[in-house]
């Protein structure tokens, strides 16, 4: 069996949640494999040590050039050291989407993006499951991995695996030429709005099902009755009904509430990707097939425009 590598994202000295999810995904490819974690950055000894608590081998690739994970630079560095025909696992986030497809071309291996499950490998065929049309249908996708593969794994769908401790191998010397035509300049922080939803304990989150800007009023009323803050999904921000700082999702804020109430939100993974910390999720949606019901703890099949005012009324009566 080919070697499996997992690219580890980290920030502020902590491993990203995706790290152990990738480990879990790797074990579905080959339960017996020793997964090698790849950690890039500058001054990453602590992170590497943390990674080594779960991964048998951790490649430390430490360089000033990698202080920010610029996909082009990372790709060049990896190409200089990865063996041929290997598996590389990446999270399907804004970095993985930037790196994965191009990396597979340069490695001449297969690419499968946004994998939600892995059924295993038979011969040279990797069997994966993906979703299409916002999760309305799933597909079995088979992939010829004779020359290896780059697999982007959807964050949040694999239960984090328990790994075995291992050791850090310093590969910094093998970086080679990483001059790039794309240069990172800076991160422009999103403007903080009137509420910081990343600190909210209870969130009432509203999506497309609200239909009309004016109907937002009822959501704010419910939130007020509950003592919650209001957040939303992307379409609401795209329509400019609420400010960007209220948007939950991979392209918005990452929130860690105790209770998350999703009103008229279909529950795309881009949205749920922003909901962390395993909150108690209540979903209210009139479409019984909405994917949100798969991730929610409790669901109500109802039109929020009718349900929410009644709920607010009852809560006010308490």
């Amino acid at each position: 069996m080919a070697q499996i590598f997992a690219y580890i994202l980290h920030s502020n000295g902590e491993l990203d949640d995706s790290a152990l999810e990738l480990l879990a995904a790797a074990k579905k490819i080959d339960p017996d494999v020793d997964v090698t974690a790849i950690v890039t950055g500058s001054g990453i000894d602590d992170v590497c040590k943390k990674a080594a608590e779960s991964f048998k081998t951790v490649w430390k690739i430490d360089s000033d050039a990698l202080s920010y994970p610029n996909a082009e630079v990372v790709r060049k560095a990896l190409l200089n050291m990865l063996p041929s025909d290997c598996f590389v696992l990446l999270p399907q986030d804004t970095f993985g989407m930037d790196l994965g497809p191009g990396l597979s071309v340069k490695m001449d291996s297969a690419f499968v993006g946004d994998v939600v499950d892995i059924e295993g490998v038979e011969g040279n065929t990797l069997k994966t499951i993906r979703q299409e049309f916002s999760g309305q249908v799933s597909t079995h996708v088979h992939c010829d991995v004779s020359a290896g593969a780059v697999i982007n794994v959807r964050p949040g769908v694999f239960q984090p695996a328990e790994g075995q401790a291992g050791e850090v191998v310093d590969k910094s010397g093998e970086i080679g030429d990483v001059s790039a035509k794309r240069k990172f300049i800076e991160i422009q922080e999103a403007e903080v709005g009137e509420v910081d939803i990343t600190k909210s304990e209870v969130l009432v989150s509203v999506g497309r099902g609200i239909e009309d800007e004016e109907n937002l009023e009822m959501v704010f009323e419910l939130a007020e009755a509950m003592g919650a803050d209001v957040s939303c999904s992307r379409p609401i921000v795209d329509a400019k009904w609420l400010e960007k700082s209220r948007q939950v999702g991979t392209s918005g804020m990452t929130v860690k509430p105790k209770v998350y109430m999703a009103l008229g939100i279909s529950g795309s993974f881009q949205h749920m990707g922003g909901v962390k910390g395993n909150p108690f999720i209540v979903a209210i949606n009139k479409n019984p097939k909405a994917p949100i019901f798969q991730v929610a703890d409790v669901g109500v099949e109802a039109d929020i425009l009718e349900f929410v005012p009644e709920l607010t009324e009852k809560i006010k009566e308490l």
Binding site: R130, R182, F184, I187, A190, V295
Partner: protein
Amino acid sequence: MEILVCVKRVPDTAENEIELNAEGNDIERDDLVYSVNEWDNYAVEEAIQMVDKHGGSVTVVTVGDEESEEVLRREMAMGAEKGILLSDDAFEGSDGKGVAAILKAAVEKGSYDLIMTGAQADEGYAQVGGMLAAMLDYPYASLVNSIEVGDGKLKVGREVEGGNIEMNEIELPCVLSIQTGINEPRYVGIRGIRKVASVEIPAMGASDLGIDAGSVGEDAAKVRRIDYFVPEMGEGAEMLEGSTDEIIDKLIELLKSKGGIK
């Protein structure tokens, strides 16, 4: 600036449930209508705005059958000057790399400063842009939501986690995949499409592009969709049943116990 935008014809599924066909090997396509992939449309609008400001022209290209011509016409009605249809029986069943290889050949037939794609499609892998860039050895940025034109380079913003924007400088020529919301695409009515109805759209096949037919298409595809199926339901949420009042009472109890009502 000469800009090539890669577009794709996709089922328009916004308001309709996707259902499986009787055989279960495909979605029910009879009742579907098709349109240009939303992300691609933003890319074309962005390209047109850049050309309006800095000069040059926009070309739209797609890999697909004859029916895909309609999306090229639609985008030309928006303001793209030329359309190219890459169509060949040999292209059918291509995986992402196959499509990228076909597009690469088309890019090399022209002379473009900038290639754009949509960041993703509802039925896609969000892969072609990155693959095309790697094949061309062009720099690449995905999920772009702002572009500023500089001298021989661009300043692009990428939409990253936390609602933040990652600013990059990228040398031309390059490939960018465009995120929705970067602009407000203009409306295209029937009249606009009729105006470009008679514009010739050249179709190019494998031989025109100099592609070895065996290197693309179904046989060359390493990644194959085997079937469609409806994901298992029910393992998720506990659905509250009963009259609205009963549901609300149950819900309030649950919310209270979980600290959802302060």
